[in-house]
């Protein structure tokens, strides 16, 4: 443990000693390194300016005091000096602008990519689609809710861990296409030097080329509502060989877990699956007890939609709410089976005992063939 950390933990009071970092996370892409170096240069320049300028000021403060008997000399302008201190800062800025321009152009150069991944921001999770390989999945926060509410039992990667990370190959130029489903999010991984807003209705691009295998963590950087602080990003960079192995396994897994859209499910099975879907997608607003948050997010427990009007229930889950924009249209995100499962769960959980079973084919019918 380094000296600075001991000092900080003393300043910060008793408790666990955590690593405290003063500067950027170690960069692992050319762009991140460029940013790192550029920032170091800027820091050097600005600290030097501060020391020189305020050195002069503090000299005056120490020497030109009334209490020392210093008499004021009432000069109040000097054209030469004023021109000098206008021109010199301008020249320093031009000197800064040169490397800064190069870095901006490098960041914006998204061409000649080796592969493309589409990233979609949702409230509050990320979806990754490997456009060249047909693999796609959603990445959720993996930290259990209990860890948020108790002071103990927080793992090393508290809040920066996901159920399924974005796996990428090292040494390849990965182009990202970013968009969002609901509000603006921002995909940020400090070590990669990438932060790009994901904007609903628009596609933006960014890129990175990781040169060192490893796990790099970041999180959403644009306030996107209640659980903005709980949508981390984990990038797992592997060698091209390891990546190929992972990709093959992931494709196989996707094929194996594909649902038969015509399967007829039993209530218990569907409810069990629906509970999982609920935990991943609905719990943030409607809460684990189905009571919602009064005034902001409606309760499902005992609500007319979740206990009586089945078509309305299917409609609001599929197409979202017309009255409350916070209720997303889940038809675009979830499969027929998942939607059927979650509706079945909601109609049979908490105090709702309707005994209703909604089958995947009902959802398919409700989509009206639009799917």
């Amino acid at each position: 443990m380094s000296g600075k950390r001991i000092l900080l933990s003393m300043l910060g009071g008793v408790g666990t000693v955590y690593a405290a970092d003063f500067t950027f996370q170690p960069p692992v892409t050319p762009v991140a390194r460029q940013i790192y170096d550029l920032h170091s240069l800027l820091l050097l320049i600005t600290v030097t300016i501060f020391i020189v300028v305020f050195g002069v000021m503090f000299y005056a403060i120490l020497r030109h005091r009334k209490s020392l008997g210093h008499r004021a000399r009432p000069f109040h302008e000097n054209t030469t000096v004023e021109i000098i201190w206008t021109v010199i800062p301008f020249l320093i800025l031009v000197g800064m602008a040169w490397p800064a321009t190069k870095a901006v152009l490098a960041q914006k150069s998204t061409r000649a990519e080796d592969m493309t991944i589409k990233i979609t921001g949702y409230q509050w999770k990320w979806r990754y689609d490997y456009l060249d390989d047909g693999v796609g999945f959603v990445s959720h926060l993996a930290t259990p809710t209990e860890a948020l509410h108790s002071a103990s039992a927080k793992g090393t990667h508290y809040l920066l861990e996901v159920d399924e990370p974005l796996v990428v190959p090292t040494g390849k130029k990965v182009r990202l296409l970013l968009t969002a489903n609901d509000v603006i999010h921002s995909w940020w991984v400090p070590s990669l030097g990438v932060k790009q807003d994901a904007i609903p209705g628009f596609v933006r691009d960014a890129w990175f080329l990781v040169d060192k295998p490893g796990v790099y963590r970041g999180q959403c950087a644009e306030l996107c509502g209640k659980d903005h602080g709980f949508m981390p990003i984990v990038v797992d960079a592997r060698t091209p060989e390891d990546y190929a192995v992972w990709l093959a396994a992931r494709k196989k897994l996707a094929a194996a877990s594909a649902d038969d859209p015509n399967k007829v499910w039993a209530l218990a099975d569907l409810k069990a699956r629906g509970e999982k879907v609920f935990q991943q997608n609905c719990v943030a607003c409607h809460q684990a007890n189905g009571k919602g948050i009064p005034g902001a997010f409606p309760a499902l427990d005992g609500s007319p939609i979740a206990t009586k009007d089945k078509p309305a229930h299917i409609d609001i889950v599929l197409n979202g709410s017309k009255r409350n924009p916070a209720m997303a249209a889940w038809g675009k995100q979830l499969s027929d089976t998942d939607i059927a499962a979650v509706i079945t769960y909601e109609r049979n959980a908490w105090g709702n005992h309707t005994g209703d079973v909604v089958q995947p084919k009902d959802i398919k019918a409700a989509r009206g063939g639009k799917a």
């Binding site: 950027f24 600005t46 000069f75 004023e82 950087a221 902001a296």
Partner: protein
């Protein structure tokens, strides 16, 4: 001086009203100025309590006191209350109090409109504060109220939008008053290029407010119609553009930064010459620097949006334009140091706050230069580095200058002296704990902590603890200021006409405390740069 004593003829010859009516129907610029200042201090305390709630939650990892939705409401309202409730009204209040005295006017140009522009503020502030208690709570989209997140909120957002409309009307009317007063009511001899810097800063700020507050009102109205009337300005599914919100917002938002900074520059340009016992260095270049900052402030808005994915050419344009602002800002800092150089300085509380302002504002300026570099901003945008940066500019900048101003003009306003030891203690206490609170935030941002999160990864714990301790100490210290003011208003020693040896502007030529009706008859002045009065004749008051 004899003319105005013939009661009944001169329009301002009525007496001093008493009781509640004096305040409700106030048309006297000093009464209205005082109400503005007390109002803004009240808002400062309310916004401060919200800040302390935020820092309490962030003292350690995990969710302890507030659920995320309430946390987001607190960050949003903290920003709105501090910007629109505390800082802007405080500068308008000072302008009300001081401008007529500085330029030799009998009052503000539109005395009744002045009353209206103040009395709009309390209902607007009430709307903001009661929004915590409506269904769904207060607005929680950040003070920037970005769409489409802002379309998701409950009725707290509507109350916020309405409050912004009212606050905007208030500041526009205040600004019209400032502009007309300065342009039309200057005493003979007080030409534009002799005016004190605070008058210049207030004039330019007022133009900025009139230019951009309607833009803000427009954009929040678009959010309102998106929310309730089926428009799709910012809804991509209906052909709208969420990023357009940001362009319009920051076209307001960046000049807004200077609306909160230019009056501070003006104040400091009075205090440093006074306590250096020397004229302000480079008065003319100060005027031009202030004007060019104002003009440039309209051309840099998209530097708040470097991560939205603008084309490289736009990134570069806004980067260069932003860097350019460092030049006139640098000129101002050099001029202040040039004023101190070879002076005969003493360090009473106003001077301490002014020097503290120059140091800390410059730190904020230098981190601003770092942020202006688009490539580096990509890492720092929406992190605690930005939070550190704008608190150096707004707390150590605007707030410290306001403290400096209150201490400096307190004797003229009240006829009493404040307690110098308590004032100095307030300065050193604020200076230390301000830096303990906000300096570590630079490190948090660099290390990768986003802003506006209620809980954080474990590696950010140490600096957050330090910041929280600093914030509570800083907050408590402001009660010293309140105590000093209240005690000194009642029991302070009587202040001389000119408590500061080096104070040479017009307001120090009249009795202390400033008479209820000053300059009922315009004085004839012979003035030098920065409103330094060489001689004055006439200027009746009662």
């Amino acid at each position: 001086m004899a003319i105005s004593t013939t009661a009944g003829h001169a329009p301002h010859a009525h007496g001093k009203p008493t009781g509640l009516w004096r305040w409700l129907a106030a048309t006297n610029h000093k009464d209205i100025g005082s109400m503005y200042l007390w109002f803004s201090f009240t808002m400062f305390l309310s916004g401060g309590v919200m800040a302390l709630c935020i820092r309490a939650e962030l003292f350690q990892p995990g969710l302890q006191f507030f659920q995320p939705e309430l946390f987001n409401q607190l960050t949003t309202l903290h920003g709105l209350v501090m910007v629109f409730g505390a800082i802007m009204p405080a500068f308008t209040g000072l302008a009300n109090w001081l401008l007529p005295l500085m330029i030799g006017a009998p009052d503000m140009a539109f005395a009744r409109m002045n009353n209206w522009s103040f009395w709009l503020l309390p209902p607007a502030a009430a709307l903001l504060l009661i929004s915590f208690f409506v269904p769904g709570g207060a607005a929680a989209a950040g003070w920037t109220l970005y769409a489409p997140l802002a379309t998701q909120m409950g009725m707290g957002m509507d109350l916020t939008i309405f409050a912004i409309h009212i606050l905007g009307v208030s500041s526009i009317m205040g600004s019209i008053n400032i502009i007309v007063t300065i342009l039309n009511l200057r005493a003979p001899g007080m030409t534009m290029m002799k005016m004190p810097m605070f008058a210049w800063a207030s004039l330019i700020t007022a133009y900025l407010i009139i230019a951009v507050m309607p833009v803000l009102a427009g954009v929040v109205t678009m959010v309102l119609t998106d929310r309730h009337f089926g428009t799709h300005f910012f809804n991509a599914a209906g052909g709208g553009d969420p990023v357009m919100y940001q362009h319009i917002f920051w076209f307001f938002g960046h000049p807004e930064v200077y609306i909160m900074a230019l009056p501070a520059f003006g104040i400091v340009s009075h205090i440093i010459p006074t306590f250096s016992r020397k004229p302000l260095f480079g008065y003319t270049s100060m005027v031009y620097a202030t004007s060019s900052i104002a003009v440039l402030s309209f051309m840099v808005w998209a530097h708040h949006m470097f991560t939205t994915g603008m084309p490289a050419t736009a990134q570069l344009f806004f980067m260069y334009a932003t860097m350019l602002i460092a030049v006139p800002t640098g000129v101002k800092v050099f001029n202040w140091i040039g004023t101190m150089w070879q002076g005969s300085m003493s360090f009473e509380t106003p001077m301490l706050f002014a020097v503290g302002f120059v140091c800390l504002f410059t730190i904020g300026g230098l981190s601003g230069v770092t942020l202006s570099v688009a490539a580096v901003d990509i890492q720092l945008q929406d992190t605690y580095y930005v939070v550190a940066h704008f608190h150096y500019v707004l707390v150590a900048g605007a707030l410290f200058s306001l403290f400096a101003a209150i201490y400096y003009w307190f004797p003229k306003m009240t006829g009493k002296m404040y307690s110098e030891p308590l004032g100095k203690f307030h300065f050193w206490w604020s200076m230390i704990w301000f830096n303990v609170t906000f300096f570590p935030m630079h490190f948090l941002g660099l290390a990768g902590m986003p802003r506006r999160i209620p809980d954080y990864a474990l590696q950010f714990t140490d600096f957050n603890r330090i910041a929280s301790i600093g914030a509570f100490c800083f907050g408590l210290g402001q009660l010293i200021f309140l105590y000093n003011m209240l005690r000194s208003i009642r029991h302070g020693q009587a202040a001389p006409h000119k408590p500061w040896e080096g104070a040479e502007t017009l307001e120090w030529q009249i009795p202390t405390p400033a008479p209820y009706h000053s300059f009922v008859e315009a004085p004839h002045v012979e003035a030098g740069d920065n409103g330094v009065i060489h001689s004055m004749t006439g200027g009746a008051h009662h």
